[in-house]
């Protein structure tokens, strides 16, 4: 009885302290992210953690909401006034953190800077490359002239953070990193930056959009998964991203913690060797006695389909991913406008898989090695182990080799493997995976740079080609969907699952989960009570 009373009393005290503490901290929030931010220069390194922070400090002509849908940012509207000319009407009365007004001059300056950031390991130059010339009509109108119709212009602009011509004329990456030049139009401004450790933000009270919820944000980097979760549990940080799947069950039961989740845009899939022709040997495929096969079975669509339906995707999602993914049969999840309706997740059917193998001339199966990274994607090494066992069950005896990303990615890029696991984080337009992963590798067009299996299908290429100059949006979307459908029916790659993005926070916070995985300070706010 007394025990009960005491518990009640202590619960009441805790609640009281909790309430007053919340009142005190409502003005600031401490977040911890997993991936280190390497630079505050928004055009230096095209890298998700950098982009997330850049979105907090800067704005783009076209912003994206939590579902990656384009919404007006620093541009109020945009349209193709001629087939080769895009016009952007800019938002009036916008000021940079230092008070400078935002005008069309700043847009022109920004696009000129993109290809001229010294030493950039991955620049944003590709987004300004289609633009041949820029015309400034009035301070709030800018036109981009391109060599050919370029329907993806607004989408390109969702990647370009706008700088101030006056402030950033001679700003170097070091100036940005030191915080001196990290001046944008975004909802928070930078107070201080300690590389690899933390960034401190302060609310931009003159922001043109919704006022940021906190006066102060401390944005820390804690790379170790267990330590990040522990920091959240200890209350040292109030918000974390990339919640490790192994901690999910525990956190779901903890009533001090809330989770925010959304199906992402990152597909985990298996790339297959399309480079070696039907009468050539694939490097890691042999017959059951370990001798060269004399042909590449992966050139037969029946074999590819057999390997696909031999995989129990639901089991992988439930057991390996602890539910933090959805089984997938294509690059984009349902609800995204370029999702291909009618292409379903391949159903698990080992018997049909064996029949297909026999039809293709492999009744006894063959041997294959499945390669993959062990430090890149969530549970990557365990996924290929699971797939290896499932393939072995239909007679394709599989050995599995996981290695660090640093050594894996170069070999995958040279098409050294017969089968490999890899991921692709899309933007919501299907042209993105088509162009980079599925299109025939062609240097001049910049196609297929991540086509590590060297898949090549003229029908896919043709539809993609048409879509890239089709200004009629519904028609373009149809072309993109059709090209994806053909690739999916041809089993160009074997999709496994699309990851769920999960953030964890103390109960007094709420968060708008983004499907593009970005952890942005402005998406965290006090929970409604």
């Amino acid at each position: 009885m007394t025990g009960k009373l005491r518990k009640l009393a202590s619960a009441a005290t805790t609640a009281f302290i909790g309430l007053s503490a919340q009142g005190a901290v409502a003005q600031s929030v401490t977040m911890a992210v997993a991936a280190p931010v390497t630079s505050l220069d928004p055009h230096y390194h095209q890298l998700s953690p950098n982009n997330a922070v850049a979105d907090t400090i800067f704005d783009k002509l076209v912003n994206t909401d939590a579902t990656s849908t384009s919404i007006p940012g620093l541009a109020l509207s945009w349209r193709a006034v001629e087939p080769n000319v895009w016009e952007f009407k800019l938002r009036p009365n916008v000021r940079f953190h230092n008070g400078n007004p935002f005008t069309a001059e700043d847009v022109a300056f920004t696009l000129q800077r993109l290809p001229n950031v010294p030493n950039s390991p991955s620049s944003f130059a590709a987004y300004s490359r289609p633009i041949q010339s820029m015309e400034i009509g009035d301070p709030l109108t800018i036109r981009f002239r391109t060599a050919a119709p370029h329907p993806l212009m607004p989408l390109d602009m969702t990647n370009v953070r706008i700088l101030d011509r006056e402030t950033h004329q001679n700003a170097t990456t070091e100036d940005f990193n030191a915080g001196r030049a990290a001046i944008g139009t975004g909802p928070y401004r930078v107070v201080s930056h300690r590389s690899g450790d933390r960034i401190e933000f302060e609310r931009n009270d003159n922001y043109w959009g919704d006022r940021a919820p906190f006066q102060r944000v401390i944005y820390r980097m804690i790379t170790n998964d267990a330590a990040r979760t522990a920091a959240l549990l200890a209350g040292d940080v109030e918000f974390i991203d990339q919640v490790p799947t192994s901690d999910l069950a525990k956190l779901r039961q903890d009533n001090r913690i809330a989770l925010s989740e959304v199906v992402g845009l990152r597909l985990i899939f298996l790339g297959l060797d399309h480079l070696r022709q039907a009468n050539e040997n694939s490097p890691f495929i042999t017959d059951n006695d370990g001798r060269p096969l004399g042909r590449n079975p992966l050139q037969d669509v029946r074999v590819r389909r057999a390997l696909s339906i031999a995989i129990d995707r639901k089991a992988i999602v439930d057991r390996v991913m602890e539910g933090a993914a959805i089984p997938a049969g294509q690059f984009l999840p349902e609800g995204v406008y370029t999702h291909v309706s009618g292409v379903t997740t391949p159903a698990f059917d080992p018997d049909a898989a064996r029949r297909l193998l026999a039809e293709a001339g492999y009744p006894q199966g063959f041997r294959i090695q499945l390669n993959g990274p062990n430090d890149r994607y969530v549970n990557d090494a365990r996924i290929i182990q699971a797939v290896g066992q499932m393939w072995t069950r239909i007679g394709v005896r599989t050995t599995v080799e996981a290695q660090p990303w640093t050594t894996f990615v170069g070999r995958a890029g040279r098409a050294d493997f017969s089968a490999h696991l890899i991921g692709w984080g899309s933007n919501p337009d299907g042209s993105h995976p088509l162009r980079n992963v599925l299109a025939t590798q062609t240097r001049e067009r910049g196609w297929g740079s991540s086509n590590r299996g060297r898949y090549s299908n003229l029908r896919v290429d043709g539809l993609l080609d048409q879509s890239l100059v089709e200004l009629d949006e519904p028609k373009r979307v149809q072309l993109v969907i059709e090209a994806q459908r053909i690739a999916a029916e041809d089993v160009a790659v074997i999709p496994l699952h699309i990851q769920t993005n999960i953030w964890g926070m103390r109960r007094h916070l709420a968060h708008d989960a983004r499907n593009d995985e970005l952890t942005r300070a402005q998406d965290v706010r006090p929970a409604a009570r």
């Binding site: 030493n119 950039s120 620049s123 820390r220 804690i222 267990a226 920091a231 200890a234 990615v409 910049g446």
Partner: protein
């Protein structure tokens, strides 16, 4: 003495040169930094531009020649990832690692020496057995596990100490230090303890062995026979003699603590050099890897030198000139 120093410095330079060559070839063998750094949707033109921008389009020997020429002018190259001079990045993070390493060493001495002394003087008492058993744990438990356990107990359950990070810092000599503020000290305590567990055990064992050996020496017996107080026998005659191996080992350990506190730094999100180097290795940021390892070699050599000098102070029989290496 001068000849000795000059020889040591020349040796140091040779080792640094060899080191840089090995790292160059090593990173080249692992993979292509551009493949790792570049955005997945970069097209071929962009990839070629990046390769060129980072100077990776030259043959390896030319890349090395460029590096050497610049290194002679004091420029160890710019980080591929941060676009800042590699040396600056490392020096920025050095204070954090230094105070962690020194914190750990101080823990090792103030905990290890008394316990080792006790265990050596009363080898059969129960407490001594507990100390020795504990030191085995200190040797064998993996650092990352102990670190996480410390966080779970002291930060999550008890809430006494902050779980991660560096806390408030004070400024001394233009650098930020955690040990100057109370909050910083609270942040420093756990990682320093975690890093020192191995060293505490080492010091305990060395001290105990030294005490047991020395206590049987003739000069100790003589000192006792002379009627000196036990305290004077232990703290002057015994202690001074057992310090020689302890100084050597602690000194060498300090070097490896500075260089390889990687695990502790990442578990406690301690923004030091260890975390920088592991991040750099993961993305093959060669300039940082090379500069870091070159500096570590220098630190090791400097510490060895200091150990040798201390040695000669503690033991007048040791003559530096007579030591070949």
């Amino acid at each position: 003495m001068t000849v000795y120093l000059v020889r040591r410095v020349l040796q140091a330079l040779l080792v640094v040169l060899a080191m840089s060559l090995i790292v160059f070839i090593g990173v080249y063998a692992i993979g292509d930094p551009v493949e790792i750094l570049i955005s997945p949707d970069a097209d071929q033109i962009e990839r070629e531009r990046a390769v060129q921008a980072l100077g990776l389009d030259l043959p390896l020997w030319q890349q090395y020649a460029v590096f050497l020429t610049k290194a002679l002018q004091g420029d160890l190259g710019r980080s591929f990832v941060y676009n800042e001079p590699a040396l600056k990045l490392i020096l920025q993070r050095m204070p954090a690692t230094m105070e962690l390493a020194f914190g750990a060493t101080i823990f090792a001495l103030i905990i290890g020496l008394p316990l080792g002394l006790y265990a050596g003087l009363r080898p059969d008492s129960r407490f001594s057995r507990i100390i020795m058993a504990g030191s085995i744990l200190g040797f064998s438990l993996p650092t990352f596990w102990v670190g996480l356990m410390l966080i779970m107990v002291f930060a999550v359950y008890l809430g006494w100490l902050p779980s991660t990070g560096r806390g408030e810092t004070g400024t001394l000599l233009g650098l930020r230090w955690s040990f100057l503020t109370w909050d910083g000290l609270r942040h420093l305590a756990m990682p320093a303890l975690n890093l020192s567990l191995f060293k505490i055990s080492l010091v305990i064992r060395l001290t105990r062995a030294g005490v047991r050996e020395t206590m049987l020496m003739d000069y100790v017996k003589f000192a006792r026979a002379k009627g000196l107080s036990p305290a004077r026998v232990i703290f002057v005659h015994v202690f001074k003699n057992i310090l020689i191996p302890v100084v050597t080992v602690v000194g060498l350990e300090l070097g490896s603590t500075i260089a390889f506190s990687v695990v502790t730094e990442s578990v406690f999100a301690w923004p030091g050099m260890g975390k920088l180097i592991i991040d750099s290795i993961n993305v093959l940021d060669r300039p940082v890897i090379v500069a870091y390892l070159m500096m570590i070699v220098l630190i090791f050599i400097a510490i060895n030198l200091i150990v040798d000098l201390t040695y000669s102070l503690l033991d007048p029989r040791v003559r530096l000139e007579s030591k070949g290496t």
